[in-house]
């Protein structure tokens, strides 16, 4: 104890000093008590300190434990997502951790690996050409030096002799400035080889699929081209035949029927083109024409197209407001396409009531509004939202009931948008549907042949349909006629009793008393015997009955403004007889000898007939080879060359002709005849050495126009 007293704890030593005591000198009582207080405080403080430290250690151990677990979990997660083998070794080469992939490659359980020397478990060899040697000593050296190393062509050799090709990377691990070990990354090259093989295989599959897709695509293109050719060819026959029929002497009803048939055929062709164009629209490759055209006939023709197909009991009306310009600038074909589509839809879905097509100005916007209103089945809100999508129809049963591609409205929407408008719809189930769009159409430079004034003409309009009466009223008043409307026989007779009329326009199809019966009654009345009668007829009008009661003039509904005007002039004696429309081109004649190269016999006949009518001498070649041959024998003034022919097509035939001419001299004009009006085709024609282009089906007028560019007219005009 002596030693202990020699070196008291410094605290106790100080406490003694503070109480004026020493090892060999006890304090007085006050000092003693002070000493006890101080010693007791020390014990308590020491106890508190111990508690604090223990507590801190406990809590912080807990915290660190949790953190450690989170870190390990994080590391495991990382190891799991890393597909490479990872093995952390310390600077002595002893394994600290391995992930599953590394354990697999090393051929041991992960747990067994940790704590043992990595290179004691496995030999690393490097594949050199031919021989393999152990790289273990080199790796040991690099580990010791803390160097980085990568070897793409390493092989792990297990104790069993099993070999796994790997790529191996050594990366020194630093903590601060000190290298504490290395991370060894292993990538299984045998798997890599598998993956490469799989990739190669997948590539081949892709190649095959691509080739397949290419050929499918090519087949589609071929199919479309063939279809277009195959359908167009008979269509050209129909059109040509009708053109010839229209040239013959027909009465006005026959002419109108033939004209409608011709227009319908043209529409069909147009629809075919539209289907083909749909892919172009979808691909954003469709461009619009900007040409001047007469609006009224376009609209009326689009509506008239359906005068035959609409259902009985449905009135099809068309009204173009007076202040709409006669000529506008735009794409007539596309406008007509939209209108025919919309009217066609209306016709399909309307079984009673009326379909009214209106073209009016929207004064505020300076635009022209086109609307097609029907009293058909209508659509629900839901259906309205999807009808503009391609291949969608009002419901699944629609296709069954009405046919159709489901493309119509999608095309309409796209075309309208291209023209700068927006196709919109308003519909109510059971009430009807209205489609409309507004277009900004610049007025053309030309004006239509103005209507002669019919001033003072007193006209009685008898039609049970108010819209029809309204339209006729609008037209007639624009020509300064006096108009009285009557909704039926009773009202008409009352009007006739009150006033005198020059003309009565009587709808054939009226309830109770029909048009023929009313006409009979009027004719029977002496007061109105001299009054001219015009019947507004539909497809089902009994023309014979009409004629029997003395009606000679029938106007087909929907009524065109021009036809109405002309009919009124005729029946009131303001014009001579009923005018027959004959193309002016009939009078044009040329001189010269023409070779027609065309494989289709109907087309041969039609074209030859037209060419002969134009005063030309015509030879026919049945295909391209024949054409080349014939053109070598005879000096033709012009060759009309069909493009698509079996054996030798028009392009190749032309190339051969041009090739021959380069030796023999001379250059005969070659005019291509091609069904498609696509720009690419025109370019192809010019590239082949052709000079001009005639779209099929060629009308007489179009042929005359093109011929006029190349041959002299008989009368000496160019």
């Amino acid at each position: 104890m002596e030693g202990e007293l020699d070196s008291l704890h410094p605290l106790l030593a100080r406490q003694l000093r503070r109480t004026d005591a020493a090892v060999d000198r006890p304090p007085d009582l006050a000092g003693w008590q002070e000493l006890l207080r101080r010693v007791s405080r020390s014990y308590r403080a020491a106890e508190d300190d111990r508690y604090t430290l223990e507590r801190a250690m406990e809590v912080s151990s807990g915290e660190l434990h949790d953190l450690n677990r989170a870190l390990l979990a994080e590391r495991d997660k990382l190891h799991a997502v890393v597909s490479d083998g990872l093995c952390l070794i310390d600077s002595e080469g002893v394994v600290q951790s391995v992930n599953r992939e590394a354990a697999r490659l090393l051929g041991v359980r992960a747990a067994a690996m940790v704590g043992s020397r990595l290179l004691g478990r496995v030999r690393v060899e490097v594949e050199t050409s031919g021989s393999s040697r152990s790289a273990n000593p080199a790796i040991e050296a690099m580990l010791a030096a803390g160097e980085a190393w990568t070897e793409e062509r390493a092989v792990l050799v297990h104790a069993s002799g099993f070999r796994i090709p790997v790529s191996l990377a050594l990366n020194p691990v630093q903590v601060g400035q000190t290298v504490v070990g290395s991370m060894v990354a292993l990538r299984d090259r045998s798997q890599q080889r598998d993956a490469e093989r799989r990739l190669l295989h997948a590539n081949e599959e892709l190649q095959r699929a691509r080739d397949h897709a290419w050929s499918a695509n090519e087949a589609k293109s071929r199919f479309l081209a063939t279809m277009s050719h195959e359908i167009r060819t008979p269509m050209h026959g129909v059109l040509g035949t009708l053109a010839l029929l229209l040239e013959s002497s027909l009465d006005s009803q026959q002419f109108e029927l033939a004209a409608t048939a011709s227009r319908s055929a043209e529409r069909l062709l147009a629809i075919l083109n539209d289907v083909l164009d749909f892919s172009k629209i979808e691909a954003g490759k469709l461009s619009l024409e900007e040409l001047e055209f007469e609006l009224r006939p376009e609209v009326e023709a689009s509506v008239a197209l359906y005068s035959e197909s609409k259902q009985v009991g449905v009135d099809l009306c068309c009204f173009v407001a007076d202040d709409v310009p006669d000529f506008v600038v735009g794409d007539s074909l596309r406008l007509r396409q939209v209108l025919t589509n919309l009217v066609g839809n209306a016709v399909k879905f309307t079984s009673q009531g009326q379909i009214v097509v209106r073209v009016e100005r929207v004064p505020a916007a300076g635009r022209v509004r086109f609307s097609v209103e029907d009293s058909g089945a209508g659509m629900s809100e839901t259906v309205q939202q999807s009808i503009f999508e391609a291949f969608t129809q009002a419901d699944g049963s629609t296709t069954r009931r009405y046919g159709g591609t489901g493309l119509g409205l999608a095309i309409c929407r796209d075309l309208t948008a291209l023209m700068g408008g927006e196709l919109r719809v308003h519909s109510q189930e059971g009430v009807g549907t209205t489609f409309w769009f507004d277009l900004e159409l610049a007025a053309g430079a030309q004006n239509a042949a103005s209507f002669d004034s019919l001033e003072g003409l007193r006209v009685l309009v008898v039609d049970d349909i108010a819209v029809n009466r309204q339209i006729l009223d609008d037209y007639l008043r624009a020509w300064n006629c006096t108009v009285v409307g009557a909704a039926g026989a009773t009202e008409a007779e009352a009007a006739l009793a009150r006033s005198v009329f020059d003309v009565a326009l009587i709808d054939f199809m009226m309830p109770e008393v029909n048009g023929v019966e009313l006409a009979r009654r009027i004719r029977a009345d002496a007061r109105s015997k001299s009054m001219a009668l015009v019947m507004l007829s539909s497809a089902n009008t009994d023309r014979e009955a009409a004629r029997r009661v003395g009606i000679t003039t029938l106007l087909s509904k929907p009524i065109s403004q021009r036809a109405l005007h002309d009919a009124l002039r005729t029946v009131t004696g303001l014009a001579g007889t009923v005018e027959r429309v004959t193309p002016q081109s009939a009078d044009v004649r040329f001189t010269g000898r023409v070779l027609l190269v065309e494989d289709n016999q109907v087309n041969q006949r039609v074209a030859a007939a037209i060419l002969q009518k134009l005063g030309l001498e015509v030879d026919i070649a049945a295909d391209g080879a024949d054409g080349v041959m014939q053109s070598a024998r005879v000096d033709y003034d012009l060759i009309l060359m069909d493009c698509h022919m079996p054996n030798l097509d028009g392009f190749e035939a032309t190339r051969r002709i041009r090739s021959r001419e380069s030796h023999s001299g001379g250059r005969v004009p070659v005019v291509a005849m091609t069904a498609s009006a696509m720009v690419e085709d025109r370019r192809r024609c010019l590239e082949a050495g052709m000079d001009d282009h005639l779209p099929k089906p060629a009308t007489k007028a179009a042929i005359a126009e093109v011929i006029g560019r190349w041959l002299r007219r008989e009368d000496g005009g160019e």
């Binding site: 410094p10 605290l11 100080r14 406490q15 503070r18 101080r38 405080r41 020390s42 403080a45 508190d48 300190d49 508690y51 604090t52 430290l53 507590r55 801190a56 809590v59 912080s60 915290e63 660190l64 953190l67």
Partner: protein, 378 residues
């Protein structure tokens, strides 16, 4: 320069008669228990004895006199300069937000070509110490050392005061400027705490009020660590000061000590800022290192001082150290004194925050340190 030490204890009165050295070149520093604000007779006696001297000081969490640590006493040092100038400045700090402005005001009152050092004694509860220092340094410049501390209130954290001409006043900051080429102004500051436990992110704090670490209430964390000793909050929070540093490599940590807790807001108020996004780590005491720290602070402070001159040493140590060291607190005071020149008179106090230049020379508020200032006159 001559220095006289004396102290006052209620039971025995003044340890000696006041030396008759009153004059404008006399500096009287006094540190005492906070309840002298009520029984201020001895303070009045002191001021009456030195009517033309610079008299200042503040309340403490333990008075340091020589190698002793006392409670409930007044520790006084009277330094009489021969050829150096002294100036006293004062400023009020109502709320912590005023701290920087108050510092700037003090600095502006003291700044001069020949200013050699500034001693600052500040209210310990309503002041943001780091902002106060920023204000002073902004005004006097980086090259002038600023040292001192925040007044203490035992382990109660209720009321602190600074001695002014009107007596002890809360919400006040006093600063003494020392002028002239003969003044030697040394300083040293050392902690001696160990970092422990995980590093945490300061996720929510406003100024010197800390709400959340790692998204969890900071107060709850402290309570977890304190266990039974949480009953002693806020004082016991001093057992675990917080070391904070910006979230970047190599950043020097700063120690922050707790001044108060708010149970309702689950927040803790520290003696200095806790910037959001900084890293924080708890610290714990290491007895030997605390004592070594005090010795090291003395080493730093005497560097550049002359051993043959009389030295006034102002020791400002953290209340947290006192709490941990308890009976052994005197060991650090002894260690400090032992490290200083032989003719040193040491006076000082346990504080709520220490002020002195950092190792890199920039003045900072420190916590949990022993901070020594040595003053000599050639």
């Amino acid at each position: 320069m001559q220095v006289h030490s004396l102290y006052y204890a209620p039971a025995m009165g003044w340890s000696a008669a006041f030396p008759p050295v009153d004059g404008p070149r006399t500096l009287v520093l006094v540190f005492g228990a906070s309840d002298f604000a009520e029984r201020d007779e001895p303070l009045r006696e002191l001021r009456a004895a030195f009517p033309t001297s610079i008299v200042t000081g503040c309340s403490s969490s333990g008075e340091i006199q020589g190698d002793r640590v006392q409670d409930g006493s007044l520790a006084v040092a009277v330094a009489v300069f021969e050829g150096s100038g002294l100036r006293l400045a004062g400023a009020r700090v109502g709320v912590a937000e005023d701290s920087c402005a108050a510092g700037a005001s003090l600095g502006a009152q003291l700044v001069a070509e020949d200013l050699r050092g500034v001693l600052v004694f500040s209210d310990g509860l309503s002041v943001n110490g780091s902002e106060l220092v920023r204000g002073i340094v902004g005004a006097v410049g980086e090259r002038v050392p600023v040292t001192g501390g925040l007044a203490g209130d035992g382990d109660r954290f209720q009321r602190t005061w600074v001695l002014t001409a009107d007596g002890p006043v809360s919400g006040h900051v006093a600063a003494v400027g020392l002028y002239g080429p003969r003044v030697r102004f040394g300083h040293g500051s050392r902690g001696g705490w160990d970092l422990f436990g995980p590093e945490r992110l300061i996720t929510r704090a406003e100024g010197n009020v800390l709400y959340e670490l790692d998204g969890k209430p900071a107060l709850a964390l402290y309570k977890e660590y304190l266990g039974d000793r949480a009953a002693g909050l806020p004082a016991t929070a001093l057992l675990f000061p917080l070391a904070i540093h910006p979230d970047e490599a190599g950043a020097e940590p700063i120690v922050r000590t707790v001044l108060g807790v708010d149970e309702a807001a689950q927040s803790m108020t520290f003696a200095g800022d806790l910037p959001t996004g900084w890293r924080a780590q708890l610290m714990k005491a290491n007895f030997d290192r605390l004592i070594e720290g005090a010795a090291a602070a003395a080493d730093l402070a005497r560097r550049g001082e002359r051993d043959d001159l009389v030295t006034l040493a102002v020791a400002v140590s953290c209340v947290g150290r006192r709490l941990v060291l308890a009976e052994r607190a005197e060991e650090e005071v002894e260690a400090a004194l032992e490290g200083l020149p032989p003719q040193t008179a040491q006076v000082g106090f346990y504080s709520y925050g220490e002020i002195s230049p950092h190792v890199d020379g920039s003045c900072r508020l420190h916590n949990q340190t022993m901070t020594l200032t040595t003053i000599q006159e050639d």
